[in-house]
Symmetry: C2
Subunit: 110 residues, 2 copies
Amino acid sequence: MAQRIQNLRRAPTSDSMARALDLSGRRWALRIVWELRVGPLNFRALRSACGDISPSVLQSRLHELRNDQIIEKIPGLGYRLSTGGEKLFQVLAQLDKWSGTLSDGSRRSK
Amino acid sequence: MAQRIQNLRRAPTSDSMARALDLSGRRWALRIVWELRVGPLNFRALRSACGDISPSVLQSRLHELRNDQIIEKIPGLGYRLSTGGEKLFQVLAQLDKWSGTLSDGSRRSK
DNA sequence: AATCATTGCTACCGATAGCGTAACAATCAG
DNA sequence: CTGATTGTTACGCTATCGGTAGCAATGATT
C-alpha cells in the first residue's frame, strides 16, 4: 500500500476528480444518492429518508444531480439513479464498508 | 396510503454511514484527503494543493479530520493520512475512476 | 545580533449556502 | 364537493465559506 502511494506521487488531481470532489462536498448530495439505492423515491419520501432535510436544499441537489446525470426524474414515480448514478453507488458501498471503522469518539469539533 | 408502496423494505442508512456522508458533505474534506495521498504536506503546501483554499476553512477541516483520526499531524513534517485515512483513500481512488464518466456538460445550476 | 524568509495559524468581514417553517397550486381519493 | 397528498417555492434567519491581512515562531543569511 505504501507502494501504491509511492506510484501516485506525481499525479496531479484531475479536473474530473476535482469536479467529483466538489460535488461530494455539497451537503446531502451523496446521501441522496445513497438513499436512492433501494429504488425510486418521490420528493417527500426522499426528504424524509434524509432525515427531513430542508426542501429547498433538496431541490437544489436534485437539480444538480440531474444536471450531472446521476439521477433522473420519472414522472409519477419520483427520482431514481441513472446508470452513472448506480456506478457512483458502487463507490458509496465501499464508503459504507469503510464507515464502520470510523472512530466513534468524534463529534463535531470547533 | 400510496405510501405503502414506498416504505416497504429498505435497509436504513446506518449511523456510521450517515456520519461518513456528513463528513464528505463538508467542503474540501475529501479533497484534503485526496491531496495527501502523495505523502505528507505541510499547511501551506496543502492549501496550495487545494487551489488556495481559505486558511480558516482548511484549519477547520484539519481539526475535524484529525478528530476522526483520518489524518495526523507530524511535527516538522505537516499532515499525513493515518491508517484509516489510507483506507478512505482507497475509496477515493474508486471515485477517481468513476469521475472520468461524469458528464461534461454540467455546470453549476441554480 | 539584525534582517529576512517561511512557517502555522488567527482575525475580521462580506458573501453564500443551508435550515426551518409555511405556504402554494395541482392532483387524486372519497 | 371536501380533504389528503403531491412537488415545489418563498421567506427570513443562521452557519459556513471565502478572501485578505496579519500575527508570532522558527530558521536561515548576513
